[in-house]
Amino acid sequence: MTEPLRILVVEDEALILMQIEMMLEEAGHSVVGTAMTAGEAIALVHETRPELVLIDLRLGDGSSGLDVAHAVRDLGGITAAFMTANARALSDDMAGATAVIAKPFTGTVLEESLAYLEDCVRRPPPDALVPAGMRVAPAWLASFAQMRA
């Protein structure tokens, strides 16, 4: 790993949030913030300018991770990925996010997904394999293919 990624984690389930945080830190990344609602998350995106945002689709206070992804897209230059038990609810454009990781994920899938997203941020196009349960947005796949060409 070249340099730890600065990551914002948006997840309203305390246990899952803790697990993701723990795994990110074990992998040597830096968690610059955690949010449980879309409002919190959008404020933190502006405040911390992370390199990667991991977003749950259903958030606290009935808010939606889609709003977070839209804010990230509008800001530009930040990679976003959804982590959700409702991956099928996402349309192909994924609100501009790069990928969706389906819950429940195994520890291995989370590690491999992170390796892929790290490639996306640090050295696109990504070389890492796409693990089972992770789906990359078609628009991003196309742009990665263009980079490789």
């Binding site: 389930e13 246990l15 899952i16 803790m18 697990q19 723990m22 795994m23 074990e26 259903r58 038990a85 409702n86 991956a87 099928r88 389906a102 819950k103 429940p104 994920f105 195994t106 520890g107 291995t108 899938v109 491999e112 693990p131 089972a132 349960g133």
Partner: protein, 373 residues
């Protein structure tokens, strides 16, 4: 419409016009209401009316003669039907149409009108001949049937709507429950993963890791189930691919090559969790025992349909199963044995020379269930 030469037929009768004319007599006497209008006069007035028409309409002859037929129309008469008749008159063509007319006393009746132009040799239309038949009973019956049909269709549409709504609600509930199941499995895995990190005792830690792997295998079942569009069948092959890849890569054992030989076999969803747990135990077991001291090797997973059964084979080319391990009453072994009973499966442990092959054979369908599609 009348044939062009049909009017010659009357010549052959050699009958005098007036009272002796058999055609005029027939028109006068028939029970079919008939009128003749003259389109060459202003407003195409009635110039002849028979007694049947007077009986049907309730008017006297003097009230009818010299007037246009429109006095038969009333409040509920369809404007479209009137327009069609007017167009036929203007085009000098014939028309047959059911139209709602009114008697002198104001009572409505359905009139099966037949209107036809009568032309001379030069083709000029001299008269219109119209016959009228009271078909109120027929139209009423027809309309009643139509109303019944409309009512029935409305009822069916309403029931369909209700059922569609109920189904949508049910689907939403299933998705909600599914979402919660998956989130809960993720939470259990999170708890186990975090607790495991805090344990220093290697045996306790290994037990916790084994538990985490089992929970993750169940999680993978649920992820796969709702990734497919079929919520009743579960593809063992696709699951095996995800599970074996995850376990081998997660083991950090780069020198173990995974070989997959997978053919699609669908089993009922109810069988998915025990099948998943069984495969998880066998693959984990092989990874743990077959390749000690970072020994390189090959692990192969086969899923194949076998008539009404499915065969799952886990084979390694490792050190072989030590006799003690075979007979050990470990938790993993007990779990495999009990899962076999639940699945009605047979299991065989064989020497692969070198290594071990575990072969499981289980019925694809539920006991007493349907034949495989």
């Amino acid at each position: 419409m009348e044939q062009p030469d049909a009017w010659h037929q009357t010549d052959q009768l050699d009958a005098a016009p007036g009272k002796g004319d058999p055609f005029a007599a027939a028109v006068r006497a028939t029970r079919m209401a008939m009128i003749i209008t003259n389109p060459r006069l202003p407003d195409n007035p009635i110039v002849y009316v028979n007694d049947a028409f007077l009986r049907m309409s309730g008017y006297t002859r003097s009230e009818v003669l010299g007037h246009n037929c429109r006095f038969l129309q009333g409040a509920q008469t369809d404007h479209g039907a009137v327009a069609l008749i007017r167009e036929a008159v203007e085009a000098r063509t014939d028309i047959a149409i059911d139209i709602l007319n009114y008697r002198k006393d104001g009572t409505p009746f359905w009139n099966a009108l037949y209107l036809s132009p009568v032309a001379d040799e030069s083709g000029e239309v001299l008269f219109f001949f119209a016959s009228q038949l009271d078909v109120t009973d027929r139209v009423d019956a027809h309309m009643q049937i139509q109303q019944e049909k409309d009512r029935f269709e409305a009822e069916v549409a309403k029931r369909t709507r209700d059922l569609t709504d109920a189904l949508a609600t049910q689907t939403m509930l299933v998705h909600e429950v599914d979402h919660r199941v998956k989130n809960n499995l993720q939470m259990i895995a999170a708890l186990l993963a975090m607790q495991t990190r805090a344990i220093t005792d290697p045996a306790a830690r290994a037990a916790m890791e084994a538990m985490l792997t089992r929970v993750e295998a169940l999680g993978t079942v649920h992820r796969r189930l709702y990734q497919s569009n079929n919520v009743e069948r579960f593809d063992v092959a696709e699951f095996a691919r995800d599970l074996a890849n995850d376990l081998v890569r997660g083991s950090g054992r780069d020198r173990i090559r995974l070989h997959l030989d997978l053919e699609t076999v669908e089993i009922p969803v109810a069988k998915a969790p025990p099948v998943a747990l069984m495969m998880n135990e066998l693959i984990t077991n092989a990874l743990k025992h077959a390749f000690p001291d970072d020994r390189p090797g090959r692990l192969s997973v086969t899923v194949a349909p076998d008539g009404t059964h499915v065969t799952i084979k886990i084979a390694d080319d490792g050190v072989g199963m030590p006799v003690q391990a075979m007979e050990q009453r470990s938790f993993g072994k007990r779990l495999i044995g009990t899962l076999c009973r639940q699945l009605n499966a047979s299991i065989a442990w064989m020497t692969n020379d070198p290594g071990t092959i575990v072969s499981i054979r289980l019925p694809r369908e539920m006991a007493g269930g349907l034949e495989a599609p």
